[in-house]
Symmetry: C2
């Protein structure tokens, strides 16, 4: 069966999102799949854990006194809610930088209810409200600590971006030269990789097990980031956002991270597995139901979030329910 998330209007399938999935263990074995686990696409914001790890391994967090909550926001695609903004600002301050140093542009909150409330309050989003402001503040802190110029930190040629590529290469097992580079929605580098490599990185992240030279500091960094986001699930996303719901409902048994263009990654530390999901067409509405369909097969009952996350309803401009989404993403077990 073709793995899809179907969009039904009444009882009729109106549209169909094709899905590919890789499930990999920390040893690099593909244990299950749907669609094409070798599909290459950009990791987008699902790479943020790995863009934050250098803050720890390179000593910036210790030297600048960065808190766990600030680390949580550095890994986040957050809603720009007051706590997110405060933490991004305090992380920026540790880098002796201000909001004007951020290279990310403003945009409305990723959570529609939050965006609407901000608009109703007449509140314009700033760069600090960008879902990526914590990541950017972290990159500025890394530049400050390493003695690199903070100016231009987002450009692909800057040492901060090169450092992130190197970190992504370590965790994914893909050589730096084989990682496709693009410019992300917020202006920094982003990484084109096979789903299988993304899943491996999350398996290793969750297992805190990497191996090789310098792995101990990296494994410790993974442990601290996971503890940071699990201690306060609100940080990684916010109100009415699936990443926060999954972290909270699973009690940290699943470490999820959404990305733009239909990307989702997750670690399942107890099972030693990593998951990477891509909705082929880049759709956002369907990536969450697709991930949940995968998690429900790998760890039944592990993610007791509300049914509306699994089967979101579609409403029209009159507020009527006119349809819903249905994920059909059967995993083919390989091991």
């Amino acid at each position: 069966m073709l793995p899809t998330v179907d969009v039904l209007r009444g009882a009729i399938v109106e549209s169909r999102h094709r899905v590919s999935v890789a499930v990999v263990d920390a040893g690099g074995t593909l244990t299950a799949r749907a669609g094409d686990p070798d599909l290459v696409t950009f990791w987008r914001s699902a790479a943020k854990f790995f863009q934050a790890i250098p803050l720890l391994t390179d000593g910036a967090a210790d030297a600048l006194g960065i808190t766990d909550a600030e680390l949580g926001v550095a890994c986040a695609s957050h809603n720009g809610e007051p706590r997110h903004v405060e933490l991004a600002a305090s992380l920026l301050a540790r880098a002796s930088c201000g909001a004007g140093d951020l290279a990310c542009g403003p945009h409305p909150s990723l959570a529609e209810p939050v965006a609407r409330e901000m608009a109703e309050r007449g509140e314009q989003p700033t760069r600090l409200h960008s879902n990526c402001s914590g990541k950017h503040a972290g990159m500025l802190a890394l530049a400050r600590h390493r003695g690199w110029p903070t100016m231009g930190y987002a450009d692909l040629g800057h040492p901060v971006q090169a450092r992130c590529v190197a970190e992504v290469a370590r965790w994914t097992g893909v050589p730096e030269g084989a990682i496709g580079l693009g410019v992300d929605g917020c202006g920094v580098g982003c990484f084109a990789l096979p789903l299988r490599a993304m899943a491996l990185a999350y398996a290793r992240l969750g297992a805190r097990r990497l191996g090789g030279v310098g792995s101990e500091a990296r494994e410790a960094a993974a442990d601290r980031l996971i503890r940071a986001v699990t201690a306060e699930p609100f940080l990684i996303a916010g109100t009415a956002r699936l990443c926060t719901e999954i972290l909270a409902a699973s009690g940290g048994r699943v470490i999820p991270k959404v990305g733009a263009e239909g990307v989702y990654s997750a670690a399942l530390p107890e099972l030693g597995l990593g998951v990477a999901v891509k909705v082929e067409d880049g759709d956002f509405r369907s990536s969450g139901p697709a991930l949940l369909a995968v998690l429900d097969q790998l760890a039944p009952g592990c993610v007791p979030v509300a049914e509306e996350w699994r089967k979101p309803e579609l409403t029209n401009t009159r507020g009527m329910t006119v349809g819903w989404l249905e994920a059909h993403v059967p995993l083919a077990a390989l091991k």
Copy 2:
């Protein structure tokens, strides 16, 4: 080759939209296709010409003095710009109705620049700003003229909706009982049909040739609607909208109509052809480039719109160009 609209970030395909197309002549022959021309999906707003025809055939337009410009807005998915709103209001007045009688809910303008300008002026969209307000006003005029209750005109069980189903059946050649019904984004009925049947209806519309009992009034209605939208291309959509651009640039040689969830239909009267396009996943950004790729093969040079419509750029929150869309929709000729 798989017909797709590819989303590139830098030189790398990040996401991919699959496309199906039917090209049919007024005699019902499938003359070209891409993907699956028998794909069943909802026609959504691409059905609006056929929902407006009863206004003419049933005598409402003559009896109530409905103008060509009002007919144009009845066929539109408009931007809610001042002229659209005025015309929807004047059409409503001919039905002795007001904005409070409209069943459609408000939403921001379909053109992002128009939506932004309205928001910056602090202007809240009303029901009259709904892209469907002209269609709804027309349905109220039909109900008034036919002596049906105006209350509940949007409900599937109301005679107005039954009348629309009957009209759609005539033009598409699909029996009423075989048309799947759903509730549209604005609350009225919408029609699930094979792409092939949608294309046939547009071929007949453009040719003003239907045949069968009662066809003369229907053909005259088609002619008046086409003249109405061609005389003032702004009406059918508005500023920065592809339907308006195609109508204007082609000088009426192409009569296009967009629908939600990745649907596009068009008539090419000179060639006697109708076209129906569906982006499988329901995506909006890619349906226009897909339609243009089809039109460029059927009638090269016929639609001299700006290149940005064929190959839209993707910008990020910093305003940088980070990618673009590329339509690869080769038609397989069948005749």
